[in-house]
Amino acid sequence: MIMYPDIKGRYGDFGGKFVPETLMEPLEELENAYREAAADPAFKEEYVHLLKEYSGRPTALTFAENLTKSIGGASIYLKREDLNHTGAHKINNAIGQALLAKRMGKNQLIAETGAGQHGVAAATVAAKFGMKCKVFMGAEDVERQQLNVFRMELLGAEVVPVHSGNKTLKDATNEAIRYWVQHCEDHFYMIGSVVGPHPYPMIVRDFQKVIGEESKKQFAERTGGLPDKVIACVGGGSNAIGMFHPFLHDDVELIGVEAAGKGIDTPLHAATITKGTSGVIHGSLTYLIQDEFGQIIEPYSISAGLDYPGVGPEHAHLADTGRVQYISATDQEALDALHRTAKEEGLLAAIESAHALAKAFIIAETMSPEQSILVCLSGRGDKDVHTLMKALKGEVDQDELLSVSSGSK
């Protein structure tokens, strides 16, 4: 069995380290520190302990009984990453990387954030470990995610609004990397998804694998087997890779759902694998949305957590080899699924996760009642209430939005 990434940090054709020379040594230092830590039982023990005692793991596996009934196909199970401390899977990685930073003797964190969930997770662990934390966030996202900005500030982090480009996650990431280049000797850059130069996609994946490992165990306890299909949303792809990875060698169909925004036949989407081509973004060779001259095109999604023009290199590889199927859901489909889940299950999903739910409902309907489908509910929707209110007020046709979720499809 080939192990990815390889020695150059590649996943097949993807991955690698495409960064300014200044960062090459810091990346090597990080990789060495990580490999040492990963081999140290005390490190693993502390990580697992914090996940349990601080974050509240294992998170529940919930059988969505009402949705299963109303859809009338496969049994739908939800992996409840929304129940984590801070409200999303992002904390798994933040705890891991904070421990790594501590081990490396660095107590100043840099992070980038889109929807703010990674920023909140970074600010949280920084407070917990007595570290300083600077979070770069696109000015547009600062606007969209005021609640999370406020949370980060309450936690003692400094939020730096980024005004370049589309003022979203891509631009925040550029700025975080630029800041890191300047301060790499004493700052730890905590990347929030399985993107960026090697070793980040590997490190983040390893810290997120707990999602899939736990799911597998819980599913077996509950049903005695494996789910037939596993679905997760993909922006950078950290919850998806964390969920998928432990299933890669099982007879389970894996499906990633990207943000189709206003539709993949319009320019307003963030469907990187579906519509992108291979290129370099943020230090990694992967699929991205770009023009013929290699200029990166600003993505669009109603979800600040998904509008990223690239995707984790391992996802690019899994798409190329066909092991994972990548599809996309529009803003409207996600909003519809969000409403339906709220009304039928009493669960307010993050808009990101609602993309996975939207496709899961459609796919579940085509399956038989003996089959089962597992969806990663990567985070809760509290942070999106502002966006939802705006959508309801007119950005999205109100009648259409409210006509959802009667249960008939």
Binding site: F18, E21, M24, S164, K170, V280, G294, Q295
Partner: protein
């Protein structure tokens, strides 16, 4: 013997100014190259505007933004080189481009365009040693300078990078992105000395050099300087004049005088 070494042998320190293709427009870029040559430039570093320039600070980022708005791209930028030649530019023109635009052109296509337009060399700030072997080898085969960069964090990598480099070695003065700096850490001189000790080719120091006085200090240890942001800032000040037919010549003279201050400080 390499061209840059021959300048040193004539007791000339290297002065390599950076301009962004298409800022403020294509025509001005051609004129600016000539003005910089008149000021005593050893070569021109011609920046390809890019949407996500990870190694650059705000000044060059803004220049990229302006050039992209003008519709500049890597192909059009290379096509400016023959125009510079017609205009009288004889010094080498080195492309400064991020890797993605090269990747999208495709290597074959890219090298064909380099040849066709008589581009002299190449610098790719986000293509480190471990990823650049194929392009480096290809440049050697095609007689193009492949300029490598070393940074204060390069330590154990310094030697292998220096030995694989061609033309001149680009020594990044300090941690961080491009941009003017008021002061430099005193360690920079020791670092340049370390680089000099392992480099078989001339060493030009870049990132942050924004005055003739700073250039003079760097040149006491190094073989020359690369000057980007402070020239771009000057062009930003002169933006409207450079675009106006009536005022352009005067603006070009101002740029020339500004560039000369770096050469004369040596």
């Amino acid at each position: 013997m390499n061209y840059f070494q021959s300048l040193l042998d004539q007791n000339k320190k290297l002065f390599i100014p950076f301009i962004t293709a298409g800022d403020p427009d294509a025509e001005a870029t051609v004129d600016l190259a000539l003005a910089l040559q008149k000021a005593g430039a050893s070569a021109i570093e011609l920046g390809i505007p890019y949407s996500d320039p990870l190694a650059d600070g705000p000044v060059i980022q803004r220049a990229s933004g302006r050039a992209l708005k003008q519709g500049m791209n890597i192909v059009k930028a290379m096509e400016l080189v023959p125009q510079m030649r017609e205009n009288g530019v004889e010094i080498p023109v080195i492309l400064f481009t991020y890797y993605n635009p090269v990747l999208q052109l495709g290597e074959e296509n890219f090298f064909a365009l380099m040849r066709e337009n008589n581009v002299d060399g190449l610098l790719i700030p986000d293509l480190p040693f471990e990823e650049n072997e194929r392009i480096r080898t290809r440049c050697k085969a095609e007689n193009l300078y492949f300029i490598s960069m070393v940074a204060p964090t390069s330590s154990s990598r310094l030697k292998k990078i220096a030995q694989a480099s061609d033309g001149f070695l680009y020594c990044v003065s300090s941690l961080g992105v491009t941009g003017e700096r008021k002061t430099f850490d005193q360690n920079v001189f020791q670092f340049i000395n370390e680089v000099k000790a392992v480099s078989p080719i001339p060493v030009a120091v870049g990132f942050g050099i924004s005055s003739g006085e700073q250039a003079r200090k760097m040149n006491e240890v190094g073989d020359g300087v690369v000057v980007g942001s402070s020239i771009i800032r000057k062009l930003e000040e002169l933006h409207d004049q450079l675009l106006s037919e009536a005022d352009r010549n005067e603006a070009l003279q101002k740029v020339e005088a500004f560039a000369r201050s770096f050469v004369q400080s040596v």
